[in-house]
């Protein structure tokens, strides 16, 4: 019987105007998305490749251990995701690199070692075109698909009540939940058909391009993304059925649904984010520079005072130099790390509060599986920190391996003078891992399922109790 109702719904929908319009809209958007990706992605990969080669070449042009230890690895770049077309994730608002260089002069001829700096990306400072949402899968699923789900379901029960056909149907020995499930499946299948076809066409265009190579891992990610999209679609169909069965009149049902959609999809994420970001005040750049300059000044004064005392003792001077290089490096690294942590915790709070909105959930989920956006940025920072440790260990190991060295790291005279082979210097490689992503996605996925279950259960309760 469920199948019978589903089939009827499906045939009804397939002939309707909304089905045609939805199909056209989805296809056009997906086509635009694919074409843009095919054009832009090779450029993006090329840019990343050029940048990493350049920074690796500068790194490997150094052969002596001291300058390797002092100058640091240079710029470390974030690898662009091959699935960039699925979700852009605000990547243009995130810096795509971190740099490790040495800035701090403690005295003449004495410079602190490199430390990591996190550039604040203000990419749009020069960009005077208006803000737009990138037309990616996240946009198509988050905004367009949810709107389509509402437009397909707002009248599915209320209009049958208006016309009286619902009474007719229930006069047969059909349990109410069967009717509801049938309607649900009918809407789900009839929206899934154009959506799936549009996705197929999108992937076909993208995989036909010579420059883009989608690996096995990428296809698994795409399958997961598709399942998540269908779950999100189910959520909005359940919402539509709930409102449609609780309101007598189908226009009223549409008005309620559209306004709910506007509030939760369009307004709640940005409003809540601005409220939540007001809770904490991360260190500003003014404060950062003020503290930094103060710290460096203190360090310099201390050093000058000490070096006055030990002017006559060269071996003591080396000790003090090395000590202050370590100190300067450490305080520099600590300060920028502190600022970064405060910025990140502000964003994390805002992101967890905006989870009330289903569109935020789907965007976070897509970001995680696509490998763009904030979660990915944190993963990149973790990779960078791991690499920084590796790099510093490499320097101490190389120094320890040389018997002629004094093992006083920080001063040229105290360190190994053996030439280093360029290949042995560790190179930074940014990686994406799927298993880590599942952990990050679990809460969002559970919330999405929870929303769906609550909505469909309420829809069931309301539909069982209504008078026909």
């Amino acid at each position: 019987m469920i199948w019978h109702i589903t089939k009827r719904e499906l045939y009804d929908n397939l002939n309707s105007l909304r089905f045609a319009l939805a199909t056209v809209l989805l296809f056009v958007l997906m086509l635009i998305n694919a074409v843009i990706h095919v054009q832009e992605h090779p450029e993006r990969m090329q840019k990343y490749h050029d940048a990493t080669t350049k920074s690796l070449n500068t790194l490997r042009s150094q052969t002596d251990l001291f300058s390797i230890a002092q100058e640091g690895p240079g710029n470390l770049y974030k690898k662009p995701s091959p699935l960039y077309f699925c979700e852009e994730g605000g990547d243009i608002f995130l810096p795509d690199y971190v740099y490790g260089t040495s800035f701090v002069h403690i005295a003449n001829n004495l410079r602190a070692f490199w430390s990591l700096y996190y550039p604040g990306a203000f990419p749009n400072v020069f960009n005077i075109r208006p803000d737009t949402v990138k037309v990616d899968w996240g946009f198509v699923i988050g905004y367009v698909l949810s709107l389509i789900a509402i437009l397909f379901t707002f009248d599915s029960i209320s209009s049958e009540r208006e016309r009286g056909t619902l009474r007719l149907m229930l006069a047969n020995a059909v349990p109410r939940h069967t009717v509801l499930i049938g309607k649900f499946l009918g809407a789900l299948v009839s929206i899934s058909i154009p959506f799936t076809l549009a996705i197929f066409m999108n992937l076909l265009v993208i995989s036909m391009s010579r420059d883009i190579d989608l690996g096995a891992d990428v296809w698994i990610r795409l399958c997961i993304i598709f399942i998540i999209a269908i779950l999100y679609l189910c959520l909005f169909i359940a919402l539509g059925l709930l409102v449609s069965s609780s309101v007598q009149n189908s226009v009223a049902s549409l008005v309620i649904l559209l306004l709910t959609w506007c509030v939760f999809v369009v307004f709640v994420p940005s409003t809540l984010a601005s409220i939540a970001s007001g809770f904490s005040n991360p260190m500003t750049y003014d404060e950062y520079f003020k503290r930094r300059n103060q710290d460096i000044k203190d360090l310099k004064e201390e050093y000058v005072a000490l070096s006055q005392e030990t002017r006559e003792l060269p071996h003591k001077k080396i000790q003090i130099d090395s000590e202050y290089v370590a100190k300067g490096t450490e305080q520099e690294e600590r300060l920028s790390q502190e600022q970064l942590n405060q910025q990140i915790s502000q964003i994390q709070l805002a992101r967890s509060i905006t989870r009330i909105s289903p569109i935020t959930l789907i965007q976070h989920l897509l970001e995680v599986f696509v490998g763009t956006g904030f979660e990915r940025h944190q993963q990149f920072l973790e990779n960078v920190h791991r690499y920084a440790r590796e790099y510093r260990e490499f320097v101490t190991d190389m120094d320890r391996a040389d018997p002629d060295s004094l093992h006083i790291i920080g001063v040229r005279e105290g360190m190994s003078k053996k030439p280093i082979s360029p290949e042995s210097i560790p190179a930074f490689e940014d990686t994406l891992s799927l298993s880590r992503d599942f952990n990050a996605a679990a809460i969002n996925l559970l919330l999405l399922v929870l929303f769906f279950v609550v909505l469909s259960f309420t829809a069931y309760l309301v539909f069982v109790r209504i008078e026909v």
């Binding site: 701090v104 709107l147 306004l259 601005s274 905006t354 904030f374």
Partner: protein, 343 residues
């Protein structure tokens, strides 16, 4: 006289509907919630502006020789950005001016007050609420204006009276606009009241005139969408078709088109090219300087240490980055921050 009767009829019809009540309540809720958030945000930006001005002023007082210093000019936040944020928050709001350095567009900075990662969240303003909610509502008011009357047969009844068809349209338009103006004006009023009661903001005549301009353009926007809805309503026979068409037109015009059309207008490429040519020019100038310096030193009767004539902008930095084109300009800006700790 007929037209006032018509308008009154339509107005009563519209005002009594469920959709009107829902729109009214949602609009006011959204506007109140967002205005308070936006005022707080403006307050933060103003505080950061003030602190930037103060720190620049302090720096100016500290410095002894103005020729070697670099001083910042700061742009204040715009009060009316509460209504429409535009690019006020995004574009650079601080630029350094110093002797021997010509600031260009890309030397502008965002003065250090905000968390750059906050850009991840899209910002919202009052006009955006109107853009989305009121356009949707004017379509919902318009879609059945004629199609509904035709379905019910009341249109034929109205036309039996001696009234021209144009007048019927006019009456429908006038009454719907009156209905939509109620939530629009109420929310503007609420925003202005909230602005005037918050102690940080003071509005002057100029601001009120501008707000009036925003109201007028919002009304024009509403009318445009109402007419789109009416057009759909006239050309379709059934209300359900009209509704679907109206919704998809809305989705296309408000949601899809503005995003799709701008996607290909990425200014990244020409900007990079401009940057590269500017860097080339700068490098040429530096080369020339280098040549002249060498000439001068070669012909100098008193031999001494090599001098850079204090032209490097942070002595350690420039030598290091001299070969790297992309950081030439950055070295100036960085030097202005680092000159205390750097040299």
């Amino acid at each position: 006289m007929m037209i006032t009767t018509l308008i009154r009829r339509e107005l009563l019809d519209n005002l009594m509907t469920f959709r009107f009540v829902v729109v009214f309540i949602i609009m006011l809720l959204l506007v109140v919630a967002n205005t308070s958030v936006l005022i707080k945000d403006y307050d933060r930006r103003l505080a950061s502006y003030n602190s930037a001005v103060k720190s620049n002023h302090d720096r100016l007082l500290e410095s002894r020789t103005y020729s070697s210093g670099s001083f910042a000019v700061v742009r204040p936040p715009n009060l009316l950005s509460i209504f429409n944020a535009g690019l006020d928050k995004r574009l650079s709001n601080e630029i350094f001016v110093s002797y021997g350095f010509v600031p260009t567009l890309w030397d502008g900075q965002v003065h250090g007050s905000t968390n750059p990662l906050l850009n991840l969240f899209s910002s919202i303003d009052i006009v955006f609420i109107f853009e989305v909610v009121l356009s949707l509502m004017s379509l919902i008011f318009a879609y059945d204006a004629l199609a509904g009357e035709r379905e019910r047969g009341t249109l034929r009844l109205v036309l039996t009276h001696p009234v021209s068809r144009g007048k019927i349209l006019l009456a429908k338009y006038m009454s719907a606009m009156l209905c939509l103006l109620v939530p629009l004006l109420m929310s503007f009023l609420l925003v202005v009241i909230l602005l005037m009661t918050s102690r940080i903001v003071s509005l002057n005549i100029d601001d009120f005139l501008r707000i009036g301009g925003i109201v007028l353009s919002s009304i024009a926007y509403l009318s445009a969408f109402y007419f789109i809805g009416m057009l759909i309503s006239v050309i379709t026979r059934r209300t359900s078709t009209a509704l679907m068409l109206a919704m998809f037109v809305w989705a296309f015009l408000v949601l899809v088109y503005p995003n799709v059309i701008l996607v290909r207008m990425t200014p990244a490429q020409p900007f990079q090219e401009r940057l590269a040519s500017a860097f080339n020019q700068i490098e040429q100038i530096w080369d020339e300087f280098e040549r002249e310096r060498k000439d001068f030193l070669a012909n100098d009767p008193i031999p001494g240490e090599e001098s850079h004539f204090g032209m490097e902008g942070g002595s350690g930095l420039f030598e290091k980055w001299y070969k790297d084109k992309s950081s030439l300009l950055f070295s100036y800006v960085a030097a202005s921050y680092l000159n205390e700790g750097g040299s």
